[in-house]
């Protein structure tokens, strides 16, 4: 992706803190280069990037790597790991390793899909609220407050169960409910930027409002949005796993790391068949951890306060 001509000589609100900017950067190339350089100095972030890239490869090439069909019942029921089924089989005799690989597709598509939806909604609402101000801002911010008053997981549970639990509905619900934090962030950013002289010049030149908002103001808010979205992908993955674990998310036979752990709610499975629940749990942890590390690296790299 390209980061448009971002002039970092503004006060960017990162994490609700307005940070005075010390850097004056000429063009987009040097800015991108600087961020990349800083990001690669962050060891944990680089580790996260490597693990995350591996996960993406696994998800994309799952059909090639998987030794068995993840849906076909061809092994023994709940067989321990062996030469044929390297991680054993599940309660109905499907190969666990193959299911583990296919489940990466579910988690990553939920993460990316849900976040893409709510970043779009949040950015548009936040930009409208921040740019137009007055009663428009009031109304949008009160709606944001309402959405933020509900404990996130509870509403998601209710909505998903009403709409019928499925991969598509999980993505949709997470996407439709996740926007408030982005909306607040973008609003704050737009409020600061719209007072700048170059925006006023744009208004004086008679540019259309959408052009001013989307081409002149919003590109300056990309850094905080990107950081927030990265952490958002991690929490969407945890959310999907929790829903599927509770039986209200992605439904079998589709494999999801969360629903693979569902069976471990029984004490017998928990005690006697650890191969059923440890690998999917570790995969969720790895995916979420690697994305969080990347988010941390990105935040440090894009933080205008750091001088390195």
């Amino acid at each position: 992706m390209s980061i448009p001509n971002v002039k970092m000589d503004t006060d960017l609100p990162v994490n609700n803190v307005v940070i005075p900017v010390q850097e004056q950067l000429g063009n987009e190339e040097s800015y991108l280069k600087l961020i990349t350089k800083r990001f690669f100095k962050h060891k944990l972030a680089v580790g996260g990037l490597i693990i995350f890239s591996l996960m993406v490869l696994i998800a994309v090439f799952a059909p090639v790597i998987a030794p068995h069909n993840p849906y076909s019942v061809d092994g023994e029921f709940a067989a321990p790991p062996s030469a044929v089924n390297i991680l054993g089989t599940d309660e109905v005799g499907r190969d666990l390793f193959s299911r583990l690989l296919y489940a990466a597709r579910v988690s990553l598509s939920v993460g990316v899909g849900a976040v893409a939806i709510y970043v779009a909604i949040g950015t548009i609402l936040g930009a409208i609220a921040g740019y137009f101000g007055k009663w428009v801002d009031m109304v949008i911010m009160r709606i944001t407050d309402i959405f933020m008053s509900f404990p996130y997981l509870m509403v998601i549970l209710v909505l998903v169960s009403i709409m019928g639990p499925s991969l598509f509905n999980v993505i949709l619900v997470l996407g439709l409910l996740g926007w408030p934090s982005i909306a607040r962030l973008v609003r704050g950013c737009v409020l600061t930027i719209k007072e700048m002289d170059y925006v006023k010049a744009g208004v004086a030149l008679g540019y259309s409002t959408p052009k001013i908002v989307f081409q002149h103001i919003l590109p300056n808010c990309i850094a905080p949005i990107l950081v927030n979205a990265t952490f958002g992908i991690a929490s969407a993955i945890i959310m999907e796993a929790s829903l599927s674990f509770l039986g209200m998310g992605v439904q079998p036979p589709t494999a999801s790391w969360g629903n693979m752990l569902n069976e471990a709610q029984s004490i017998t499975v928990l005690a006697t068949q650890p191969w059923l629940w440890i690998p999917p749990g570790v995969m969720i942890l790895l995916a979420v951890l690697s994305i969080n590390f990347m988010g941390d690296g990105l935040r440090d790299a894009m933080d205008p306060k750091s001088l390195k």
Partner: protein
Amino acid sequence: MFQYIIRRLLIAIPVLLGVTVFNFFIINLAPGNPVDMYINPDTTQADIDAKKEALGLNDPIYIQYFRWLGNLLQGDFGFSYTTYEPVLDLVLNRVGPTLLLMSTALIIAYIIAIPIGILSATKQYSWIDYLTTTFSFLGVSIPNFFLGLGSIYVFALVLNILPTGGMFTLGSNGGFADTLFHLIMPAAILGTAIAGSTVRYVRSSMLEVLGQDYLRTARAKGLKEFIVTNKHGLKNALIPIITIIGMEIPILIGGAVVTEQIFQWPGLGQLTIQSISSRDYPTLMAINFIAALAVLFSNLITDILYAVVDPRIKYN
């Protein structure tokens, strides 16, 4: 100050109304119908219609909303579709265990997070700092249910030192020690995620304060480093942390749903899951409403506390 509290309360009213609208409509626009639960081979269409009429399901949706809201204002949450008990009783029975679980989790989280956060900030970029950072990310990234299952496996099944779930030993009548014994694991697990993020906030807040001039002055006065950090520094660093507690309440409620389900803790979270599977709309609406009320209330308290603690904050 008094005016500030009043103004803050007035803002909360439209939000609360919005909460009731949103709450009512998402649940009532659901395609499923509670009457479906009563259908068996002997049910006639007339029975179904009578049941629908009795539950008031034939009225237009906005009438149903105002009826629900009117009853709500009188403290009447209706009757459960499954157990026919008053919803209020059903829910109130579950509030205690959930509050106990959540507050213990919060206390555990802060007991862990504050000293570690301070240590991490005072020793910035040391190995302790890196270790804490890694662990705090682990705490945030590990799904509650995986950690819960793992802990049951280790502490209850392998080591056999803690119970697998429930709130007291079956057959006994509870008692303080027994409940505490059952509380340890779920509370610690619920607290982990909160501790992970709180450590980060304490650390950055402390770093901010440590760079301030007044700390240099305190040192120049010849105060011991321990007093400088923990008295002068910590006091100021804790102010922004108050807002964090407000933000953590919704996360805590959501986390309680999963934790209660794993540990069979008889709280609101478990009731939520039961009500969802039995399409018990009145109960679900009541739980959601109470949870939202709790979030609004904790935000209000947070804002007020913040204003009390930090006199620099202007009330308008």
